[in-house]
Every structure is written in C-alpha cells, then in structure tokens.
C-alpha cells in the first residue's frame, strides 16, 4: 500500500510543513484512473523531491513533487485517481476543479494500455477542459504480455495531443514523456484536441451559450466546457463562477461596507 519511510510513524505528521514558495517554472497536473501506474510515473519523475498535503477544505490527500528538465523546474501535482470528471465523488470534484480553476501549464493523463477504451473516458473529459494535455499510455509491458498492440501515432492524431507510450516501472518512455510535457507547457507543441460531439439539441444549446460565455471569461477558461457544465446545472461550477463574478447585491453591500469604513 505504498508505505514508505515518509508515510510511517512520526513522518506522517510532517505534511503540514510547506517549504515556502520555491521557484517553479511550470505547474503540471497528473491525472488518471486508479491502478494505471500514476503513482509510479509520479515517483519516477520526481524521485524523492515530494511532499504531501491536503486539498484545501477536502479530506483527499495531495502529493506534490518537483523535477528539473533542461534547467527548468516543473512542479508535478498528483491529482486523485478518478474514473471520470463528472464530480460524483470528492476525488472527482477535486481533480476537475483543479484542472479548470487551478490552470496547470500542462496536464498528463496516465492511461492503462491493457484497457485503453475504459481509460479514454477520462482523457476525453480532460480534453474538454484543457487543450494542454499529454497522454501517457502506461503499462505497455503488460499490454505486450497480453498481446495487445496500440497504434500510438494514430491515437495521437485522433486525440490531437502528444501521446507517449511508457512502462514506468522499468523507466521506459519517461524521457519522451518529459520532452512532450515541456513542449506542451512552453507552447512549442501546438495541440488540436478531439471534440466530443453531443446530440443536436445539446450542440444547439452550446452554440447559443458559448459565445456569451467566451465574452465573459475570455481565453481564461474553456467556454465550451463551461457551457456544458452550466447546462447540466452543475452547482459546484456555478458556485465557483459566482466567486469570480459575485452577484450584484453582494457587490453593493461590499461597496456600502467600504463607504461606511
């Protein structure tokens, strides 16, 4: 169960000590289904430069780690393992909120090569939120053992983002992964993410809503995704947006408060 010397004994209580804002060039989120070897990828990239904490206000454990690549510091955020981003559980909500409102410079989605179809669910949902994605097809060794072959190039073409095949337990493919992350984070790799098509009614509704949302949020958030979430009456997303764009009466009371002060 991943018991390490850091997670035993008195070490478990050390998480609260943040070492202050160390210099970081890029923030990279790491997403994936449970049991895809996400932690193995995380550990392989960050080595011992890790620390754990809690997602603010949530009971879900968060791991963060750093690695350097060509002189730049990458801060890797390990998102909770989830099957989807539909916010059915705290883990899913944490992962989704972070991808949308945390605005990482790039997101790596780790998928299991032995059951790609099931794992692609999450990939498509991540692509709806952010275009800065690298897909890491892990456990290629297992897939080979099960005589499953995956056309990595054609997958990359369909998804419109870099796809890297890895066997993280043996350290295979990590160099390419690090390069792809760097390319997506600094913009030298342009992506053209796959768009899931919905039924005509929904697409119509999105078509009407999206321009309005785009005018409001600009390029900061993905307006198509926000349109979808708003149409679903997603309360957490609405609440998050209300924080960014407080309603008028609250605004007035704030102004009034300032006047009184």
């Amino acid at each position: 169960m991943g018991l390490t010397h850091q997670s035993c004994g008195s070490g478990v209580n050390k998480e609260a000590f943040h070492k202050g804002p160390a210099k970081t060039n890029y923030v990279i989120a790491l997403a994936g289904n449970p049991n895809t070897g996400k932690s193995t990828v995380f550990n392989a990239l960050t080595g011992l430069n890790q620390h754990t904490g809690n997602w603010p206000g949530k009971t879900v454990l968060r791991a963060e780690g750093k690695y350097t690549h060509q002189g730049l510091v990458y801060n890797l955020i390990d998102l909770p393992g989830t099957y989807s981003l539909l916010a059915n559980s705290i883990e899913e909500q944490v992962a989704r909120d972070y991808l949308c409102f945390g605005q990482p410079n790039a997101t790596v989605v780790v998928v299991d090569a032995t059951c790609l179809e099931r794992n692609l669910n999450l990939v498509l949902q991540v692509l709806e939120i952010t275009s800065k994605v690298v897909v890491c097809v892990n456990l290629m060794d297992e897939a080979k053992r099960k005589k499953i072959s995956i056309n990595i190039n054609s997958l990359a073409q369909i998804l419109g983002v870099p796809v890297v095949a890895t066997a993280a337990r043996d350290g295979i493919g990590l160099d390419q992964l690090v390069n792809a992350i760097a390319g997506v984070a600094n913009g030298t790799i342009q992506t053209n993410p796959y768009v899931v098509q919905y039924s005509e009614v929904i697409e119509d509704a999105i078509g009407k809503l999206e321009p309005e949302i785009k005018q409001l949020v600009g390029e900061q958030f993905n307006s198509r995704w926000l349109a979808l979430r708003l149409l679903s009456k997603d309360q957490t997303v609405i609440a998050e947006l209300k924080k960014l764009y407080p309603s008028e009466d609250r605004l007035q009371s704030k102004v009034g408060g300032e006047l009184l002060a």
Binding site: M1, I148, S149, S199, I202, L230
Partner: protein, 463 residues
C-alpha cells in the same frame, strides 16, 4: 467592470434556464453516452489484439483467491507462510548479530575499566543505553529483514487489494465502510499511516469507526514483540509451526476485534447506515524483486529500526535510572512495579510488564526491550542472544508461565496505540474527545480480555 461581468453571468444563468427548462435535455445521460460512443470508436481504430490469450490467468487466480470457499484459507496460508519464514529464519542471524554487539559491550566495559570510569557511568551508558540498543538491533533486525520484504512482495504482486476484497463483505456487515479493509491493511504497516489512510472514507461516521479500530491490527513495531513472545510460548516444544500458528491466530483475533468493535460503535456511538463503494481489483503484476528488497529494507526495516533506536536510547537511559535509583530498599521501578502488581496479576501479567507498556507509549517497538532492561537490572544475566536466553530470563528467572506470555501478546495486540498514532488521530479528527476514546476503548478491551483469559485459565487450574 466587475458589476458588468456579474450582470452578464446572471444573464447567462437565465439563458441556461430557458435552454434547459426542468432538465429536459437529460444532460448527464447524453453526455455519458456520447463520451462512451467516442471512446469505443477511437479504441476500435487504435487497439488490436493479435490473439486472445487462451487462458486468462488473472481471472483464474482471482476465482481461487477471492472465492467464498478458498478466499480466507488462501489468505491464511499466505500469511502463515510469511510468519513461518520469519520465525524459522530469524534466530540464526539474531544470534550472530547479538554475539558481535555483546562482544562490543565487553570491549566498552574494558575501556571503562581502563579509564577507571565510575560505576554509575559504566552502568548508565554501557548497561543502560548500549545494551538496550544492542538488544533492539539484534532481536528486531532479522525478523524485520525477512518479514517486510515478504509482505512487500504480496503488495507488489497485487494481492493486498484481494485481501480487502475478501474482507469487504464483513466490514459492510459490521456497519462500517468497505474501504476500512484497506485502511486496516495499511495499519499492518503502521497504525499512524493507517489513520491517515482513513481520509479515503468520505462519511465522517465511518471514517471515525475506521480510525478508532485501526489499532487492533499489529503494526511493524509490534510484530517483532509478538513473534518473540510466540517463540517463548512454544520454546519447550521447539516447534516453529506452533509459533507461526500463534502469530496467525493473534492477527485473526485482531481482525475479529476490529469487526466486533466496529459493529458495536456503529450500533451505539456512531449510528448510521453503511455507504457503498466499488472496489476495482488491479491486475496481478510481476514483482520487481530487487526493488522490493531495497524498498522494504530502506522504507520499513531501517525506518522501524531507526525509530526504535531513537526511542530506545532514551528509554534505556530512563529505565536504567528508574531501576538504579533507590528509595528505601527498592528502586523506583520496583516500587512502581510492586504497586501495579496486584492489578497486573489479575490481568495475567506482572507489574514490570505493565510498567514496560506504560513506558513504551512513545513507540511499541521498545516495550520488550524495556521489559528486558527492567528484569536485567534486578537479575544477573548480561547477554541475550536468542529466544533461549529470553526463555531463561522470563520463564526461569521471573516465573513466567505460558499464560503470562499469552496475556502479554493479547495486551500488546489490543492496548492503546503508540504516541505517534494518538497524535495523528488528534490531528485527523480534530477532537481531543475522540483521541481520548481512541486510547481508552482499546485499553478497556485489552484489560477485559486479559482479565477473562487469566481468570478462566486459573479457575480451570490450567496454570
């Protein structure tokens, strides 16, 4: 500007209401099915399986290891095998390490004599601190060096989630969360880590149950104690299988108590309906033997040893002081032990054992070393190289019976968690009240069970 934005946002929300009145678009259903169609389409284009493997070994294995009939027996068998390897394999290296370290003690004694150091100096540093450390290292290191890699091997193979799967049903029945079987498995490594792991349980009620009962499985720090005591218990018979069976029995008892206490709590203090979750079994994986050995040596063996050494050095010093500062005819330690003795005897223990548990609060690793220190301060032995010497010290010189060893094992399994774990419970629950309960509930259970066992055995004339 921001007022302009907020009006806009309010307008958008209005528009949403008109586009999707009363949720007539059935958004979530259509979104999910559209995504599923897309993934099916994509994977058909990129994935190909040359030939279906003739036999799905993972499934075959799971059919046995998680079946209703063979699930528990195979679990016991694997656990038993690991304990047997540990019990049978640890004695020889233990004796070798002890020989080296006690040779060192003799040299230190020579040095003290050469320097004409005062007697208290020699007593405090050599007989107090050094001897305690030597004992901790020689008796704890070999079992850990065998046990932890074996246990990590099971982890790496992907077997531990199957254990959780097997136990899941029982935890549901006990009114607890199925994930508690995972946090309990974590507790076998370290109870403090197990408490942190309880975060994966969303419901506060079930999380609290998991936290209050995590202590009932023996952690890293208590396994060496339990294994050594089981060795003493069957020493006369010279039977490693007997010792293995006892340790397995103790582990099973721990799980049974976990379930019983969870059930009681869910019916009394923490009432409610258990929530459900889906547990996915990961595939079996080829273990990486080299990495396992390195990882378990560094992350567990040396970690536990380091912790034991850090706590044992001061504990050795304190115990030596308590045993050598005299008030009247008796040392402070003996005074305390005598005062505790009637109560301890009723529990099948003796005053010194109870004192060792009290002084061992910082870490369970040091309970046995403290006990040995306390006995040695009054006894005449200077070296302990094997279970045989331990047997002589406890049974021959201090009148232990099998009941004493058994009750000490039970007390060790069930008593309050170590200081670190309590501190972690305090942090995780944010409540002093629950932390106190987390210490008192196990203590109460330990005292009750030891009392019943001891009194029954005596009443039936078995001792």
């Amino acid at each position: 500007m921001s007022q302009y934005c907020s009006t806009r946002f309010a307008n958008i929300l209005h528009q949403v209401d008109s586009l999707n009145p009363m949720g007539k678009l059935h958004m979530n259903d259509t979104i999910v099915s559209s995504i599923y169609n897309a993934t099916e389409n994509i994977s058909q284009q990129v994935v190909s399986q040359r030939e279906k493997p003739k036999i799905d070994w993972d499934k075959k294995l799971d059919d046995v290891l998680t079946s209703r009939v063979f699930g528990f027996p195979s679990m016991l068998l694997l656990l038993g095998m690991i304990f047997w390897l540990t019990v049978a394999g640890a004695n020889v290296p233990s004796a070798m390490i002890a020989e080296t370290l006690f040779w060192g003690q003799d040299r230190l004694t020579d040095l003290c004599n050469y320097l004409h150091a005062p007697a208290w100096f020699h007593g405090f540093f050599v007989e107090g601190i050094y001897r305690c450390l030597a004992w901790v290292i020689s008796v704890m290191l070999p079992p850990m060096a065998i046990f932890f890699p074996c246990f990590t091997l099971l982890e790496d193979l992907g077997y531990l989630p199957r254990v959780a799967f097997n136990l899941d049903r029982l935890f549901k029945k006990a009114g607890a969360h199925g994930k508690q079987s995972l946090t309990m498995s974590m507790g076998f490594g370290c109870n403090a880590a197990g408490i942190i792991a309880c975060r994966i349980i969303e419901s506060p009620r079930e999380r609290m149950i998991a936290m209050l009962t995590n202590n009932f499985v023996p952690c890293n720090g208590r396994f060496p104690t339990l294994i050594a005591l089981a060795g003493i218990l069957v020493f006369g018979m010279g039977n490693t299988f007997g010792a293995t069976a006892i340790v397995v029995g103790i582990v099973l008892l721990g799980i049974a108590v976990t379930l019983a206490v969870s059930w009681t709590l869910s019916k009394t203090l923490l009432k409610g309906v258990p929530s459900s979750f889906t547990l996915e079994l990961p595939p079996y994986r080829k273990p990486q033997i080299g990495k396992i050995i390195v990882r378990s040596i560094f992350d567990r063996t040396l970690f536990v040893l380091g912790r034991a050494v850090c706590v044992a050095a001061p504990a050795g010093a304190v115990t030596w002081l308590l045993a050598n500062i005299y008030v009247g005819d008796l040392s402070i330690l003996a005074h305390c032990a005598h005062w505790l003795n009637p109560f301890a005897t009723a529990l099948g223990l003796d005053g010194f054992i109870l004192m060792a548990f009290i002084l061992g609060l910082p870490a369970n690793e040091i309970v046995l070393p403290i006990l040995i220190m306390s006995y040695l301060a009054t006894g005449s032995m200077t070296e302990l190289e094997s279970i045989e010497d331990l047997y002589n010290l406890f049974v021959v010189q201090h009148d232990w019976t099998w009941l004493t060893a058994l009750c000490m094992m039970l007390f060790s399994l069930l008593h309050y968690p170590c200081g670190t774990t309590l501190w972690t419970i305090r942090k995780e629950s944010g409540s002093s009240k629950w932390t106190v309960l987390a210490a008192l509930i196990p203590l109460g259970i330990a005292c009750t069970i030891c009392f019943i066992v001891a009194q029954t055995a005596r009443a039936l004339g078995w001792v």
